[in-house]
Symmetry: C2
Subunit: 208 residues, 2 copies
């Protein structure tokens, strides 16, 4: 049996991912995962150094998922502004659609877990890089006016992240419609790329 060794490891990952999505991060305990996997809690420690390491593995999967989503949605043939628009919406869509994943990926405070290994940050950074390359492309084509793509890419990420996290936390004024909020956020991001972006009558941002 070649890598049948890692059968349980996969089961643990799959069930904990499922439990994370279904029952939330707070209800994710080693013992609960274990009973769901039909093994003892300590068996998990055979494949993961501790709970944080298991969490890190899930986070990594999350970043892969997000990156795939962004990459497949992004069409490098389209105009940069359209691409930026798409990327923003896909990111928000991911965050609102996978709140549990999003939480451990972006909202889990470092103080709550072991330092996320530096080498794993590369996967997280791939998403920012994707934005950055897009900005550089837009700059080269003269569509954007950006001096420091890396800084702006991080600002864009921060803006969208703020929107997603506050929405998911239910901390956006209830009198503000979710759609209007999202549209305004996206418009604001796109506005930062070049010129002024206003809202068209079909709720799509239009560059004036």
């Amino acid at each position: 049996m070649p890598d049948n060794n890692h059968d349980l490891r996969r089961t643990i990952l799959d069930t904990s991912r499922r439990m994370l999505v279904n029952e939330g991060f707070t209800n994710l305990s080693m013992r609960k995962i274990a009973t769901e996997c039909d093994c003892s809690a300590t068996s998990i420690y055979l494949y993961f150094k501790n709970k944080d390491a298991l969490l890190h593995a899930l986070i990594e999967e999350g970043f892969d998922l997000l990156f795939e989503k962004l990459k497949t949605a992004d069409d490098s043939q389209r105009p940069p502004l359209d691409r930026a628009n798409t990327i923003c919406r896909e990111f928000i869509d991911f965050g609102l659609g996978n709140p549990e994943y999003y939480e451990i990926m972006f909202q889990l405070h470092p103080r709550h877990m072991e330092r996320y290994p530096v080498e794993k940050f590369r996967k997280a950074r791939k998403n920012i890089d994707l934005i950055m390359y897009l900005l550089e492309d837009g700059s080269k084509k003269g569509d954007f006016l950006i001096e420091e793509p890396r800084v702006v890419a991080n600002v864009i990420l921060a803006t969208i992240h703020g929107a997603v996290s506050l929405l998911n936390a239910g901390r956006i004024d209830s009198r503000v419609g979710k759609e209007a909020f999202v549209e305004t956020v996206v418009a604001s991001v796109l506005a930062g790329l070049k010129g002024t972006v206003i809202m068209g009558k079909d709720q799509q941002p239009v560059v004036s």
Copy 2:
């Protein structure tokens, strides 16, 4: 003894606030608070329904603190754009300067604690309202071009929140300087208010 009753209550609040700031949210346990207060852990339950209620009280204090900071920094006599600039920077300053407070105020996921009581949200909303009034003022004076101040106020809050939370979590690309990042975020927010904002040579946003 008039309200000597609430002596212990005050001590609990003060020490837990101090412990929160000094040792972080994760290390805040009822028993630790109790030993620090020279009382038993169960005594805390005489004054707070549970740990969440204690946390809510701390959150409330945090919002008061933030509101005071914003209110005293805001000078309604100055031009709206200057005021917006000040508010943004004060907010960021608060978030970076009080990461523990900020965490329980804005990053503590609802799933991790009992629903934050609706009536207490008013204190949180006072900060958004302050931004909103400023936007309305700017609109009235013709400095801003804003159709829905409440939506935009929430977007501004989200943008700044995203920046603060990612900075505090150490999730901003290390190759991006903190100052440059903050300046770009503020510039981006101000740009959304009207026209295009570019960075002057003194790193201060200038409206063109």
